[in-house]
């Protein structure tokens, strides 16, 4: 009785890990694209701070009375452009998170529907090529939580930024970098290694 149920659960798990593998790459790429943007955000903030620290009328630039206003406008405009690009990147990250969350919740739904026909042994049994269903569900859940948290943290960071709050902007690249969690990323890579035989098996 439990055999067809297990097969379909295995299918769903395979699909989820496939989805995880694809999206892990997308996630990494998007994050890599964000780094230079964060750096330019910090640079622009530094430039604005420098402009605030300088009394233009005491410098050789005093010949250009509207310079400060014009430069500030250009800096704000550039900051805005970078923030817009970052928010586009955030939508890409969001779609990664959504894809993984949807896939994982579908597997869990399937699992919960079939609990009656799955006994403890079937769920915890593992072989040389396939980890147990329980383990795989746990790994998926860990991965899903990781992307969910990462997305929220990064999104929150960006949402607190304002083009006119220079100290927040200046520290943003550093705080962005501190959100990196290589161990969690490594865990996901490990997971994908552990299920590689399982994914290749029919």
């Amino acid at each position: 009785m439990s055999k067809p149920v297990l097969t379909s659960l295995h299918q769903a798990l395979r699909k989820s890990f496939q989805c995880l593998e694809n999206n892990q790459k997308v996630w990494e790429n998007v994050l890599a694209e964000c780094s230079p943007l964060m750096v330019s955000l910090g640079n622009l903030a530094e430039q604005s701070t420098a402009l605030s620290n300088v009394q233009i009328s005491n410098t050789p630039l005093r010949a250009f009375p509207d310079l400060e206003e014009r430069l500030r406008f250009k800096l704000l405009q550039a900051t805005d452009t970078v923030l817009n690009k970052l928010s586009e990147k955030m939508s890409s990250l969001q779609s990664v998170r959504d894809a993984i969350s949807n896939q994982v919740s579908a597997v869990f739904q399937l699992y919960e529907q079939s609990t009656d026909s799955l006994d403890l042994l079937t769920v915890t049994e593992r072989s040389a090529i396939a980890p147990s269903v329980a383990d795989m569900l746990e790994w998926l859940q860990d991965a899903e939580r990781h992307y969910r948290q990462q997305f929220l943290r990064r999104k929150t960071l960006l949402q607190t930024l304002r083009a006119d709050n220079l100290s927040l902007l200046e520290s943003a690249p550093k705080r962005w970098k501190s959100l990196e969690s290589p161990s969690a990323e490594d865990n996901i890579t490990d997971t994908l290694c552990k299920v590689s035989f399982f994914m290749e098996s029919p």
Partner: protein
């Protein structure tokens, strides 16, 4: 801006291709020249920014210099020559920018000439039907003036930066100079729109 450089190519071939003559021909060519000069300016601005950043980096912050002096490090002894070299490069670039603005002035003069001719040929109120789509001849002159004013002022700023950059000791002011160089405060975003409007009106860009 860079990406759009390939959008229109003005070669002698496609100048002959269209059957525009007289004042319209001249205005159309001027529009293409505006486009090319502005591209050239952008390129010079990028190159100049790299050189200007080098100048600031070589010179280093005052504290660096003091440290280097105290330890009398020989590695920094080549700095003055290097600095001189970079300053000369920047000077060359600003000189090329002067040439670009001179050419822009000539475009305005030519536009004025067309306007004068028009007033001579027709009454002071100008020709009845527009040369291209909707603009009257006067508008081309006004636009050229707007563009020229922006670039002339920006050139003055660059010249000031060129003079001061290597003699500035406060890092904030250095940063402001670099920031000015990069962001070109006197060339507002509308400049690009003005150029696009000009290209659209004269038929370089398809409607």
């Amino acid at each position: 801006m860079e990406g759009e450089s390939g959008d229109i190519t003005v070669t002698s071939a496609n100048r002959k291709g269209s059957a525009v003559t007289g004042s319209a021909r001249k205005i159309k060519d001027n529009a293409a020249d505006w486009h090319n000069l502005m591209l050239r300016w952008e390129k010079l601005n990028e190159d100049g920014f790299k050189v200007a950043a080098n100048v600031v980096n070589i010179r280093g912050s005052p504290s660096d210099r003091q440290l280097a002096h105290e330890s009398s490090s020989p590695s920094l002894s080549s700095s003055p020559a290097e600095l001189q070299n970079e300053c000369r490069k920047l000077q060359d670039i600003v000189h090329k920018m002067v040439v670009v603005v001179m050419k822009m002035e000539r475009l305005l003069t030519s536009q004025r000439g067309i306007q004068d001719l028009e007033e001579f040929q027709f009454a002071p109120e100008g020709r009845k039907s527009p040369l291209f789509h909707t603009w009257n001849t006067k508008q081309f002159e006004e636009l050229s003036q707007v563009l020229l004013d922006a670039f002339s002022q920006e050139l003055k700023l660059k010249q000031t930066i060129l003079q001061e950059l290597a003699h500035t000791w406060t890092s904030d002011l250095c940063m402001v100079y670099l920031s000015c160089w990069l962001h070109q405060p006197f060339i507002p975003p509308e400049t690009r729109l003005t150029l696009e409007a000009l290209l659209l009106e004269t038929g370089h860009r398809p409607l």
